[in-house]
Symmetry: D2
């Protein structure tokens, strides 16, 4: 049986395993002081065009979101996100566990509307009772979003501008960053994105690594004692080499974007396959997650042959589904999928 369930249902890109093998007998310091992590940081600084970037390698997405948000916010602050944002839905209240409210704005296919953010902030400070309300201290968006969509450069600029006006850092969750940047719909590069936010992370887990997310403060603007904060959140890996080797590999010879482009090519074929057979889509995603709507019959037909995620049951019995591609998706799998439609 083949699976398009999720990009984290695969192993690591083979190049990563190869490097783990080659380096296994080296003795290296722990906690990120290993040579691989140092090398990875240098390469990510290069790739992001941020020579002063403060970069930290963490293990997973929820951990990264919770640690970064807690580190960046004033301790009494709240973070603004769209209602479908990962931190608002699928992190079991990890942000609130750290003491912070997630203020939700409407989601437009996963995206925040810049003008709605602006309007929210204007209304907030126009209300004389604002000191009695949770204090908006930063903004969180995902690139790409949980619905596969991406922001344009103009939208990011507009959101950033509101953030600056209200002294709120902008945080971009890049769990699937590569897939966003590699999309033909993207009008922004990694270097540009780094300039348009205050902190972001480059997702490894979903883009070829076994685990790992690289947190980037582009202008060296990490909060004081960020290392201690990471440790306090249980997010400091003893054998930092595991993360260092992976990111060093991903950022050698452009592997990260190669993986992303491959997955996007495969996703476009998946999309075409469904579209040609007349399947409607829940949202027009230009990235590695596709959301075709299937009937009960169509789902029954796939049973036992292909795995995917049921995203949301619809009132009429149909269902929004998700088909995700990755570094490991093959032409053979696409062919098999097509045969089932």
């Amino acid at each position: 049986m083949i699976s398009f369930t999720c990009d984290y249902n695969e192993g690591a890109h083979p190049e990563i395993l190869k490097r783990l093998q080659e380096t296994n007998f080296q003795q290296e310091p722990g906690y990120g002081d290993d040579s691989f992590t140092q090398s990875a940081i240098a390469k990510i600084r290069e790739a992001t065009g941020c020579p002063d970037a403060h970069i930290t390698l963490l293990a997973g997405g929820t951990q990264t979101n919770a640690t970064v948000i807690d580190a960046v916010l004033p301790h009494y602050g709240a973070v603004i996100a769209v209602g479908t944002g990962h931190i608002a839905v699928h992190e079991s209240g990890a942000i609130e566990f750290c003491g912070h409210k997630v203020i939700t704005l409407p989601s437009h296919n996963g995206k925040m509307a810049p003008e709605e953010l602006k309007a929210y902030m204007e209304k907030f400070y126009a209300d004389p009772t604002w000191p009695h309300m949770a204090h908006p201290g930063m903004v969180y968006i995902s690139f790409p979003t949980e619905y596969g969509t991406i922001y344009t450069k103009e939208e990011l600029k507009s959101i950033k501008s509101t953030c600056e006006q209200y002294h709120m850092p902008l945080f971009i969750d890049g769990a699937r960053l590569g897939y966003g940047l590699a999309s033909p719909a993207a009008d922004i590069t990694l270097k540009e994105l780094a300039q348009l936010c205050d902190v972001f992370y480059i997702g490894g887990t979903k883009v070829g690594a076994l685990c790992g997310e690289a947190v980037v403060f582009p202008r060296g603007n990490a909060p004081e004692n960020f290392f201690t904060i990471v440790k306090q959140h249980g997010a400091l890996m003893a054998k930092g080499r595991l993360l260092g080797i992976q990111f060093d590999t991903l950022f050698t010879d452009g592997l990260y974007m190669k993986i992303a482009r491959h997955a996007i090519e495969m996703a476009i074929e998946v999309k075409k396959a469904f579209a040609e057979k007349g399947y409607p889509f829940y949202t027009d995603s230009p990235t590695n997650q596709q959301f075709p709507i299937l009937t009960q019959e169509q789902m029954a037909n796939m049973d036992g042959k292909v795995l995917y995620e049921v995203w949301e049951p619809l009132p009429d019995g149909h269902a929004v589904t998700r088909f995700a591609t990755s570094w490991a998706t093959t032409q053979e799998q696409i062919v098999k999928l097509k045969a089932l439609l």
Copy 2:
């Protein structure tokens, strides 16, 4: 240069890398639902003699301590540990971050004295102002301790008995569990230890894995919704296979204890080497960490030839040092070390 700095300065046991390679192209569900994790759980249940054990694989030690303590304690509760306990010293306040005070008792070479625990509890409830004080809700000990020492079966029984009397679960931090059980000084087995506590973890990171700690609730006595708690703590790994494969390998053909026994054999040679040359020790450790006391001259002599940790400078200019062995320690390294003494 050779290093005895720490057991986490090595890569993974080769068998683990081999299994990562072999399984890399399998598609597997995330979040611990992969077949490797399921297999690992079955093997750990067997090894601990706990057929009903509730077992969860997490990535690192501080994360595990914070998650377990927060899950087991009432939300207003405090945890009792010795002053040198890892949670009291080297976790950046991760337990307090979760809202819990760490109440400290005196450390006796890293160990808690059972009678001092009992006396503390008697005094606590004898004080009529106890409801105004942080509420002792569980007990934390390490096996082996941060000073390499281990508890006897009688000591564990005595601590457990006080815990039961005061309705406090007993949690054993087993970051180096294998090294404790493999010590010639140990009078307890893994199965017995599992019976003498309410929750413990089997450390992987320091015993051959790249990362990973297996949390065991021996009698299926995990708190309700433990999965959600783990996620909320940012401790749920998306590609759970990474942890599953490692623990499945460690618990196949007794690899875990083989690694531990090898490290202990090496540690005994290290100990002998120092003892024969008349070096004093800070504590008489029967496990993989040795704490010889070195003079300034002796340290200068090792400079650039061998790495170790300076544990604690002493007022007379000498220093307590730590030399740790692991699965990767070789006879060649021991020979080189001896030549320097």
Copy 3:
């Protein structure tokens, strides 16, 4: 100038000040062990028809909501409220500060629709990813609501029934409880309300006291060590007599409900005054808060003569306003207000 701004803009009911004077030279133990608190508890047990009630006197509303919610929820749990609920809007994120997400349902003039709560819970557990989502552990409603509306007995029964089905305690915020029960629209008594929830509080601050809210666990069902929890939240008053005397006075000779009925009578006159002049209302409130909609001209006309709260500016330049009555509202004030309409 007269003020209808809020029910907490007045001093204490004179009977309370009288009792403070009379008892001032008595020496009494602190922390709620004083004789007045004990007497108040006995009287509240009587008034609520709950002989086994566990009753605690706290100082203010936000403090009470945060303490009760944190005490009742599992530490990883979330509380369900309507989007206009006090805990969701005007408590500066106090609930999230304690680690708990506030899950919001739609507000219907301040009220939760029982069927929407039921539908939410059904959908929650039907989603296989629910363990990744914030865990709904209790339900919070206000009686009366922030918009002055009240629940019918049937609605409370229906909400309670869903709560029971999903093992979620029901908490009723009674900051203005008296005004709800004294409303001619109420079809429920204090004794009945106590039976239909798991914990509620009887608001003192807004119903004649200087400060104080009485938390009632009707069936003695307070969480273990609730006293310690209260202390930990900074909510334990040293001179508990201040709260004890006030609630003892409020629950002597039915003073609490007398105050409430007086305020309701005054509110009905306020309502009539606006209605007769053709002012529209934002919501049809049967309690002590009235929400007439005023034009810019009408507001200008009142300028410098009467105070009230601008609740919400409307797009057309009009504004929802709030006029609140209390124990201290007089016929003279009503007459003056009428003269301005």
Copy 4:
């Protein structure tokens, strides 16, 4: 029966009740915007010699400690206190509840030794693993201490100097501030104390008020959005007038220090009474709390005639006791006490 149990076992100073009566029918805004609070702030600025002071009135001590410490510390920071400090012992873990570790130094009759603080900080930063340890971010001391002792000006200067060196604000818990300043042993004034710390509070509850503590940031150096932080901690009183009237009264015509001086005079008589009869003391307290050591027989003799607190049972069956005086202590009570010795 007379009681010397605690200074919070009395009602309010009569002048306060008188003012509550006189002002009761005034309508005043809530949340600290009332005219009394504004007047109290002006008078406290005058009394402390701090024209720019940022002053906030809160209700109780634990609440104040938790709010101030959480507001001042970086969110990941720890607070240094002596082991007998109120925050370390009798606040049920309220500081840890807010996420902060309390690092304890030895107590010398309740006091921190300036040189031990300095030594601790030097050792902390000399340890290369310090980023793995809870981060000392502020210092907490009490004036007077929980054992009635007070710091000299030199000691405060020395502690402040270390604080400045390590960028740690100094917080003085003044729950019984008046009794410290009014002591004949004090070599410091209120104005001087305000210059020697970064934040302190003037205790009202134990010095004549029903409740209330005035938090003073002497140089207007309150953390941004302190109001929101107070609200989030549940520490914002709706009827702020209750606190405003009390502090306005206490700081009119020097009432606060008059109360304190009276209590000190009474305490000196208590001390003499015990000393003349040869009772030993646990500590030589120059403030309103006296700690004579009593035998079982002496305690039996007082049974039913005078109340006091048993502070600490001693191994020989004797007990350290506490006798506290206040604004309400009378010569008659002293005479009665003497008759029992």
